[in-house]
């Protein structure tokens, strides 16, 4: 068992390295000179050079050594190998745009994203399972058709359109919800209602279809047939055997989605002016705010890897057969 766990942990190492490599290439090579973002207009060339130097942009892109840096009389930071160690040790420089520690920014914004995304996820998941169950119960009959049809309809409206509609009709038109905005602490709660509603409405369809397929797969397995043949009632059948076995895909889905909840939804956060990580990320991307981009990409990717790893290990604990495959 321990050997498996260790092997599983070792397996994540190359993946983390891969994430590092891809993001480095994306954000370091192709982005514009961030010195201008910092400087604004009317700069002297010497000042620009100084800013670039301060940001570590004057150095070789790929490899550098501390000794060489000292020899050249410059600070040692900012390129791939040194950045690599910084990231491994979870050290990020200050945000270029906000001049604040990246950790502080993320710590303030992550709970906000989560406060909207977690309820969306919870409500959505429950509704999806219930609707999928209804479909599976009535496979091929009208409730199934109606729900499936509705689910597809929901999936086909562009997300942006749903947001704009919700905002103009339910928010501004009917005046039921605040249009957009955020406050601090618990005073923000009433701002969450509309984004949650819109988020649930937009995300419901895909999940219903997914879980319906998973459940139907389960319904036609041999053990269910056997149980049915032995006279277990249909309802009982669905609620105990099927639902229990559907649990594994549901949990896998849940666990892998959790880190993404932190990221929030770009569109939702921008249109409802929710000060979460989604907006931060877009701003960081357009301002080439590398420290933020790196911290967020690594943070979320690694959280994802860890979550995946934990589920794998948990499954092994529950069901030793899994280890074989």
């Amino acid at each position: 068992m321990l050997a498996y766990v260790i092997r599983r942990i070792l397996m994540t190492v190359p993946i983390v390295l891969g994430i590092l490599l891809i993001t480095f290439v994306l954000f370091s090579y192709v982005a514009p000179d961030p010195a201008f973002t910092v400087a604004g207009r009317g700069k002297k060339p010497a000042q620009l050079r100084a800013i670039r130097k301060e940001m570590g942009l004057d150095k070789p892109v790929w490899l550098d050594s501390r000794a060489k840096a000292e020899q050249d009389g410059r600070e040692y930071k900012g390129h791939f190998n040194s950045q690599f160690f910084d990231v491994v040790l979870w050290r990020f420089p200050e945000s270029i745009k906000y001049h604040q520690p990246v950790g502080e920014l993320i710590a303030r914004k992550a709970p906000v994203s989560l406060a909207v995304q977690l309820p969306i996820f919870l409500i959505e998941l429950g509704l999806q399972l219930i609707l999928a169950l209804i479909c599976a119960f009535n496979r091929g009959r009208w409730p199934d058709l109606v729900v499936t049809f509705g689910a597809v309809l929901g999936m086909c409206v562009p997300y942006l359109s749903i947001i704009i509609l919700g905002q103009s009709v339910l928010g501004f038109g009917a005046g039921i919800f605040p249009v957009a905005g955020w406050d601090t602490g618990l005073k923000s709660v009433h701002f969450m209602a509309l984004p949650i509603l819109v988020g649930v409405a937009a995300g419901l369809g895909g999940g219903v279809r997914f879980y319906r397929t998973v459940m139907l797969d389960e319904v036609y397995t041999d053990y269910v047939r056997t149980a049915r043949a032995k006279g277990v009632s249909r309802n009982n059948m669905m609620l105990t055997h099927v639902l229990r076995n559907v649990f594994i895909p549901v949990v896998t889905q849940t666990v892998t989605v959790l880190p993404y909840l932190l990221l929030g939804s770009l569109l939702l956060e921008r249109m409802f002016q929710i000060p979460g990580l989604g907006g931060l990320m877009v701003e960081a991307l357009f301002n080439n705010d590398r420290p933020i981009l790196l911290a967020m990409t690594y943070g979320i990717s690694i959280a994802y890897c860890v979550m995946l790893m934990l589920t794998d290990i948990a499954y092994t604990l529950v069901d030793p057969r899994v280890r074989l495959s």
Binding site: P14, I19, V152, S161, L263, F286, L293, Y304
Partner: protein
């Protein structure tokens, strides 16, 4: 379980696919299943209309001179008829299709822009889908067939890409590739923003198919027909592409169909972030424009583009579903 296949059904919707070497019965069977639901014909014909419009948009009939022309006042609301030859003696009212969906900020016809947008939407999503399907299929086949370090490398690649939030990767790539010029075959490619979007979407979306293919190929390479092919001395590439690929091709088709839907939607997100196409109308750009127009209660552009996306997605989705039901052996016992 399955109804008897009628020969006529074979060359309908998916006729082209039937050319592959897959045992005929399964494809026939699939066709028959598609045939039994008449609604599938409706979806297919709507798709055909979209495709036709897109093709027409490549001709001067719906070219720049048409969608770019000023047909009315700024933000004229939808109307069935309009006045022509204004200010002349011959001024009269007549049916004007250009005004059916109103006009935009420059007095251009929203309907024409919408129709032209079909071309952009289909080009982007088809190309992106092809790109992602090709990458996913080839890598999946290679990983599944060769196993060993090839498999390890490919698995590592897709697990890594899968670990980075898709939206972040896709937006970052779109941003990075935006307006780059590519030199290929001695020619310069800069299809006004479309190639970069296609690359951003295609290069980040192949993971799902690759993983599926790999799993499927792992199973197939142990099958008798592969062993038989080997026995008669078929080369590796022949086995992979002539034998295994046709047997797993249904996965590709399903992924391809549903991929188009998600790419049409992704184009809206990219447009919202200012990374969409330029110089030509697209549905995403139109919805994005509509954000400001809604301040003055100009809703037609918003409604038109939303409806266009809705129509296309819904047909593709239902057809994709039907294809999946018809083709995916895993679900064969379900009906």
């Amino acid at each position: 379980m399955s109804s008897a296949a009628t020969p006529a059904a074979v060359d309908t919707v998916m006729g082209a696919v039937a050319l592959s070497e897959r045992p005929r019965s399964l494809w026939r069977d699939a066709m028959a299943r598609l045939h039994t639901r008449k609604l599938n014909y409706v979806y297919a014909s709507v798709l055909a209309i979209y495709a036709l419009v897109a093709i027409i948009a490549f001709t001067p009939l719906l070219g720049k001179s048409v969608f770019d022309a000023q047909v009315g006042a700024q933000y004229a609301p939808p109307a069935f008829t309009g006045t022509v030859e204004q200010g002349t003696a011959n001024e009269h009212s007549t049916i004007r299709p250009s005004l059916w969906l109103g006009t935009d900020i420059a007095g251009r016809s929203v309907l024409y822009k919408l129709l032209y947008g079909t071309r952009v939407a289909l080009t982007v999503s088809l190309l992106a889908s092809i790109l992602s399907v090709v990458i996913g299929t080839v890598l999946g086949l290679l990983a599944g067939y060769y196993r060993g370090w090839v498999d390890a490398l490919i698995t590592w690649l897709y697990t890594t890409i899968n670990s980075i939030p898709w939206i972040l990767l896709m937006v970052a790539l779109a941003y990075a590739l935006k307006d780059r010029e590519f030199k290929m075959f001695g020619q310069e490619f800069k299809l006004v923003g479309i190639p970069s979007i296609v690359m951003a979407l295609g290069l980040t979306s192949w993971v799902g198919l690759c993983r599926l293919m790999r799993g499927e190929v792992l199973k197939h390479r142990e099958r008798d027909y592969v062993a038989a092919a080997k026995a008669v001395g078929a080369g590796t590439s022949r086995i992979i592409f002539r034998h295994i690929l046709p047997n797993t091709f249904h996965l590709v088709i399903i992924d391809f169909t549903l991929g188009i839907v998600s790419f049409v939607q992704a184009e809206v997100i990219l447009s919202f972030l200012g990374l969409g196409v330029k110089d030509q109308p697209s549905w995403g750009v139109m919805i994005d424009d509509a954000k400001l127009e809604l301040m003055r209660n100009v809703w037609w552009q918003f409604a038109g583009a939303t409806a266009a996306i809705f129509g296309l997605s819904i047909c593709l989705n239902f057809l994709g579903d039907a294809l999946r039901d018809a083709l995916d052996p895993r679900l064969r016992g379900v009906d």
